[in-house]
C-alpha cells in the first residue's frame, strides 16, 4: 500500500473514532440530564429535610444554596416524629402493608392451584370471571364498597382497608403461571405417595414457585405502602388508622409553614421503599405487565 493510502485510511479511522467518541459523550450527557429529572425532587427534599432551620435567613428557595444546606441536622426528623405523631402513621402503614401482602399471597396461592392443575366443573366460567375483572369499570367500585364496609361494620378498620384489595386477577394469574411451569410428574409422584392436594400445594407447588411468590409479595408491598386513594376513602371516618401516604398530605396542609418537617416526613416514608427497591431491583427491571401507570 502506498503511504498516501495508509495515511488516508488512518485519517478515516480517526474520524470514525472521533464520531464514536462524540456519540458516547452525547449519550452520557443526555442520560445524566434525564437522571437529574428523575431524582432531582428526592435530592432537593433530602437537602431540605436535613437543613438546620435554626440558622438565620434559611429559605428552601434560595438556589443553588438551598441544595447544599450550610448547617446539617437530624432535628427535623425527631421533630416530625415527636410533634406530628408520625410514628403512629408509620406503624399504620406497616400493619396495612403487612396484612395486604400476607392476604394477597395466601388468596392468590390458593386460588391459582385449582385453576392451574385441577379439573372440575365450572372452571372455565370462573376463569372467565377473573379475566372479566380486568375490563370491568372498577373505578366506580369504591362508591359501593364504602357502603358495604359500613354494613359489615368494617368501615374505618384495618380489615376494611385490606379485605377489598387482596384478591386480584394479577396475583392469581401470576401464581397460576408459576404452577403451570412445574412438571406434572412431580405432582403424580406425590399423589402416588398418598399426598393430599393441600400437601401437594404446600410441599411441591409453593416451594417451587418461590420466585413468583417473592415477586408478587414485593409488588404488593410497594404498591400498598404507596397507595393513596383507597386507604383515604376506606378510612374516611377514622383518621387514627391512616397510613403515611395519606397522613403526609394532611400534615402538609396543617403545618404548611414548616417545610423542613414535611420533607423529613417524606424521607421517612420514602426510605423503606427505596431499600426494598434497591434490594429487589431485578424483580422490577424485568418488566412484569401488572401495575398500570398513566
Amino acid at each position: 500500500m502506498s503511504p498516501a493510502k495508509t495515511q488516508e485510511a488512518a485519517r478515516l479511522r480517526a474520524k470514525a473514532n472521533l464520531r464514536k467518541g462524540l456519540r458516547i459523550t452525547l449519550s452520557y450527557a443526555l442520560m445524566l440530564v434525564i437522571l437529574g429529572f428523575a431524582i432531582f425532587p428526592f435530592l432537593w427534599t433530602l437537602a431540605i429535610s436535613i437543613t438546620d432551620k435554626q440558622a438565620s435567613g434559611i429559605s428552601i428557595y434560595d438556589f443553588p444554596r438551598s441544595l447544599f444546606p450550610p448547617a446539617i441536622t437530624l432535628g427535623n426528623f425527631f421533630e416530625v416524629i415527636d410533634k406530628l405523631n408520625l410514628g403512629k402513621y408509620f406503624l399504620n402503614s406497616v400493619f396495612i402493608t403487612a396484612l395486604t401482602v400476607v392476604g394477597t399471597l395466601v388468596v392468590s396461592a390458593l386460588a391459582a392451584y385449582p385453576l392451574a392443575r385441577l379439573q372440575f366443573p365450572g372452571k372455565a366460567l370462573i376463569f372467565g370471571a377473573i379475566v372479566a375483572t380486568l375490563v370491568l369499570p372498577t373505578e366506580i367500585a369504591f362508591i359501593v364498597n364504602v357502603i358495604t364496609l359500613r354494613d359489615l361494620g368494617l368501615l374505618g378498620s384495618y380489615a376494611g382497608v385490606v379485605l377489598p384489595i387482596i384478591a386480584t386477577a394479577f396475583g392469581i394469574f401470576l401464581m397460576r403461571q408459576a404452577y403451570l411451569a412445574i412438571p406434572g410428574t412431580l405432582m403424580e409422584a406425590a399423589r402416588i405417595d398418598g399426598a393430599t392436594e393441600l400437601q401437594i400445594l404446600w410441599r411441591v407447588m409453593i416451594p417451587l414457585s418461590m420466585p413468583s411468590l417473592t415477586a408478587l409479595g414485593i409488588f404488593t408491598l410497594v404498591g400498598t405502602w404507596n397507595a393513596f386513594f383507597w386507604p383515604s376513602v376506606a378510612l374516611l371516618t377514622n383518621d387514627d388508622l391512616l397510613p403515611m401516604s395519606v397522613a403526609i398530605l394532611k400534615l402538609k396542609g396543617q403545618f404548611n409553614n414548616d417545610v423542613f418537617n414535611v420533607a423529613a416526613g417524606a424521607m421517612i416514608m420514602m426510605i423503606p421503599v427505596l431499600v426494598v427497591f434497591f434490594l429487589a431491583q431485578r424483580f422490577f427491571m424485568r418488566g412484569l405487565e401488572g401495575a398500570v401507570k398513566g
Binding site: 452520557y28 442520560m31 431524582i39 375483572t133 405502602w225 420514602m270 421503599v273 398513566g294
Partner: protein
C-alpha cells in the same frame, strides 16, 4: 372414580373460595350495584336513615350529561390523554438510550425507575415545591433566560398551566415503567439491523424513527393502550395536587373527580345516583377508547 371427581371439585372450590368471595363482594357486586344506583335516587341521607334507592330511570344520566362541570371533567380527561403519545415515545427513546452496550447502563435504568416506586402523595409534596413561584422550575427557566423574575408564577395556581404541570408529574412517574417494558421489546431487534443502517450513514434520529419505532409497534400499541386506560381514569393526581377541588377555575377537574366529589369526596352531600350515572358514562368512554386501541392492535397483529 366418581367419588374422586367429587372430592377434587370440593377441594378446588375450597381453594378458590376466599378469592371468589372477595372478588364477588368487592369487585363484581359494587360494579353491578353501582351501575344500578346510576338509575336511582339515593343520597347519603337515605343511607343514614336506612331508606333504599328509588328508581328514577334516566333522570341522573340526563342531569349528568347536562352538568357543565361533568362536561369540563370529560374534556379535561380527554386533554389528559395528550400525555400518552409523549410518554410512550419518550420512554422508547430512553429505552434505546440505556440499551447501548456501555458502562453504567444498569445504574441509569435503576435511577430512572425510582419515580415509579414513589407514592403519588410524596410526588405531590415534592413537585409542589418545584412548581412554586420561587420554586425550582421558575429558577431554571430564569437561568435559561426564558422568563424574567416578573414573569414567574405558581404553575399549579394558573389555570392555563395547572393541568400540564400535573401531566408532567404523570410523565415523571411513568417513563421508567414503560422504559422497562420497551427494553424487553428491544432485545428482539437484531443488532445487525442497526449496525447496517449506521454503516449506510443513517443518523440516530433516522434510525429511531425508521427502524426502531416501526419494529416496536406491537409493544408501542400495547403500552399506549395501558397508558390510555390509566390516563382517562386520572383521579389520584388531581386529589393530591388540588385537594380534590380540581382548581384553579376547574382547569384540572377531571371526569372521575366528578364521581369522587359526588360521592365520598364530599360525604355530607353524597348523591350515589348521580355518581353512579357519571361513573357509567366514563366507563363507556373508557370502553370506546379501549376498543379503538384494541382494533388498532389487532390490525397490527394480522399484518404481521
Amino acid at each position: 372414580m366418581k367419588r374422586q371427581a367429587l372430592t377434587t371439585t370440593l377441594i378446588a372450590y375450597a381453594f378458590l373460595a376466599p378469592a371468589l368471595v372477595l372478588l364477588g363482594l368487592f369487585t363484581f357486586y359494587p360494579v353491578l350495584y353501582g351501575s344500578y344506583l346510576g338509575f336511582t335516587d339515593y343520597t347519603v341521607a337515605d343511607l343514614a336513615s336506612g331508606e333504599g334507592p328509588r328508581w328514577v330511570g334516566l333522570k341522573n344520566l340526563q342531569f349528568v350529561l347536562g352538568d357543565s362541570l361533568f362536561q369540563t371533567g370529560i374534556l379535561n380527561s380527554l386533554k389528559y390523554l395528550l400525555v400518552v403519545p409523549l410518554l410512550q415515545i419518550a420512554s422508547l427513546a430512553v429505552a434505546v438510550l440505556v440499551n447501548q452496550k456501555l458502562p453504567l447502563m444498569a445504574f441509569f435504568r435503576v435511577g430512572y425507575y425510582i419515580p415509579v416506586v414513589t407514592s403519588i402523595s410524596l410526588a405531590a409534596v415534592m413537585w409542589e415545591w418545584i412548581f412554586q413561584k420561587e420554586g425550582f422550575l421558575n429558577w431554571s427557566l430564569q437561568l435559561l433566560n426564558l422568563i424574567n423574575s416578573e414573569g414567574r408564577f405558581n404553575w399549579l395556581l394558573n389555570e392555563h398551566t395547572a393541568l400540564w404541570a400535573i401531566m408532567l408529574v404523570t410523565f415523571w412517574r411513568g417513563f421508567g415503567y414503560y422504559m422497562v417494558l420497551y427494553l424487553a421489546g428491544l432485545q428482539s431487534i437484531p443488532a445487525e439491523l442497526e449496525e447496517a443502517a449506521t454503516l449506510d450513514g443513517a443518523s440516530a434520529w433516522q434510525r429511531f424513527w425508521l427502524i426502531i419505532v416501526p419494529l416496536m409497534r406491537p409493544t408501542l400499541l400495547l403500552c399506549s393502550l395501558l397508558s390510555t386506560i390509566a390516563a382517562i381514569r386520572v383521579l389520584e393526581e388531581i386529589i393530591v395536587f388540588t385537594g380534590g377541588s380540581g382548581g384553579p377555575l376547574n382547569s384540572t377537574y377531571t371526569a372521575l373527580l366528578y364521581v369522587y366529589n359526588k360521592s365520598w369526596g364530599n360525604m355530607l352531600n353524597a348523591n350515589f345516583g348521580v355518581a353512579g350515572a357519571a361513573g357509567l358514562l366514563i366507563a363507556l368512554v373508557g370502553f370506546a377508547l379501549s376498543y379503538l386501541n384494541f382494533r388498532l392492535t389487532r390490525e397490527e397483529r394480522s399484518e404481521r
